[in-house]
């Protein structure tokens, strides 16, 4: 097996697409992430949302809330957009593209959380949005510092040189952590009361895959 970048980090390289020095590449690692992003995007596209059980207070009676598919059209759309942004983030071979995809994931996550009408959830979405916006600073800052010190943003060119400054790597990680904070805000917003499981799951998928990808980038460059 030929290891990508001659580094024992992510297994064999499968194939790559060359655009000049920007090379989107699939290693075993990124291909696995890609596959999972596709699977969850398809689940979000084709699953019907679950029906929430509600108990009538003070009695034994309970009923299942009916949700019409058109009520969740926006949430489904944003979830698919989020999945697509995740796909981009896990395969791109360019650090700036990665940061842009990360920011897009942030925006779509805001959308998924905010498409619930509850005041509580909207509040959480707003707070999360502010964190995601602030996280743009270290995210873009990290990428900019890498470009300024090494003269390139291509992971393919940077791999194994160790030229990227450690501060830039830390900033990049901080940025991704900020963009991928959404699951915690979901927990905070008691999203148990909101419906649309396949879409809410997308928030989780995107932030975890983003985190996994940034760990790989930081180790490789």
């Amino acid at each position: 097996m030929i290891r990508v970048f001659d580094q024992g980090i992510e297994g064999a390289g499968l194939f790559m697409i060359e655009f000049g020095d920007i090379v989107p590449y699939f290693s075993v690692y990124t291909a696995t992430l890609f596959t999972f992003a596709i699977i969850f995007t398809l689940l979000a596209t084709f699953s019907i949302p679950e029906k929430q059980m509600d108990i009538i207070f003070g009695g034994d009676a309970y009923y299942a809330k009916e949700i019409k598919p058109q009520d969740l059209r926006f949430q489904r759309f944003v979830a698919i957009a989020c999945g697509t942004a995740t796909l981009g983030a896990v395969v791109t071979g360019d650090i700036f593209n990665f940061t842009l995809f990360a920011a897009m994931i942030g925006i779509t996550n805001i959308g998924i959380v905010a498409s619930s009408r509850s005041h509580h959830v909207l509040n959480a979405a707003y707070q999360y949005g502010i964190v995601a916006m602030i996280a743009c600073v270290p995210l873009f800052g990290g990428a900019a510092m890498i470009l300024a010190t090494t003269g390139t943003l291509s992971i393919w060119s940077l791999a194994g040189i160790g030229a990227a400054p450690i501060l830039a790597k830390i900033l990049l990680l901080l940025g991704v952590m900020g963009e991928g904070m959404a699951p915690f805000y979901i927990g905070k917003a008691e999203i148990t009361r909101a419906q649309g499981a396949p879409f809410i799951l997308m928030v989780h998928v995107s932030s975890l895959l983003l985190f996994l990808r940034v760990v790989e980038i930081i180790l490789v460059i």
């Binding site: 925006i107 990428a143 470009l147």
Partner: protein, 200 residues
């Protein structure tokens, strides 16, 4: 020895720290939203420190993404606080606004077409802004959007002509110039339609 880049970096970090401290101390939601915009500019500052042509190429997408986030957040803020826009009557309700628009707008659009390209689009767009501010615009919005979409397609098509049939470059330039004219004009005129319509 501290290079210019490093001193710039230090300055940028001082700015970022100040911005973050202000954000930390602010508790009002709306003020925090505005302050986040301030911190975003610091991100642009960091990118601008690269100081090559690439910096420009990176600032634009970064800016677009940040503005998208800002707009999404602003929208959430409006919904969250239950703020409804009130339809206010036009402040400039004077007689000349009923009669002058067609003439002035026509002149501006014509001049814009003569200029052509980006600046032409801006001038012509100004004409349409003026027209729609004065005359009101209920169904104009959708039409302008459609025109803008077709212009975009024509612009892309012109690029394909450049790539595939370089011999026809003049034709492609004409298409691209016309399309960018319509596109910029449409973008500008959208500002005009936003004036009176409560839904926008």
């Amino acid at each position: 020895m501290i290079s210019i880049y490093q001193s710039g970096l230090i300055a940028a970090f001082i700015c970022i720290i100040i911005a973050f401290i202000s954000l930390y101390q602010e508790t009002d939601d709306l003020h925090r939203l505005i302050l986040t915009d301030l911190t975003e500019i610091m991100a642009l500052l960091l990118i601008a420190l690269i100081a090559t042509d690439l910096a420009e190429a990176l600032i634009l997408p970064g800016l677009v993404v940040m503005i998208a986030e800002l707009m999404a957040l602003a929208e959430i803020y409006l919904v969250k606080e239950g703020i409804q826009r009130k339809k206010n009557s036009s402040a400039l309700d004077i007689e000349v606004m009923q009669t002058a628009p067609p003439i002035l707008a026509g002149i501006l659009v014509l001049y814009g077409i003569i200029l052509s390209g980006f600046s032409g689009g801006a001038v012509a767009g100004l004409g349409i802004i003026f027209y729609s501010v004065c005359k009101g615009s209920d169904e104009l919005f959708a039409q302008i959007e459609t025109a803008s979409g077709y212009a975009w397609v024509a612009w892309i098509a012109a690029f394909f002509i450049f790539l595939l049939l370089p011999g026809q470059w003049f034709f492609a330039v004409m298409i691209a110039g016309g399309a960018i004219l319509i596109k910029v004009m449409a973008k500008f005129s959208l500002i005009g339609t936003m004036g009176g319509d409560p839904g926008v």
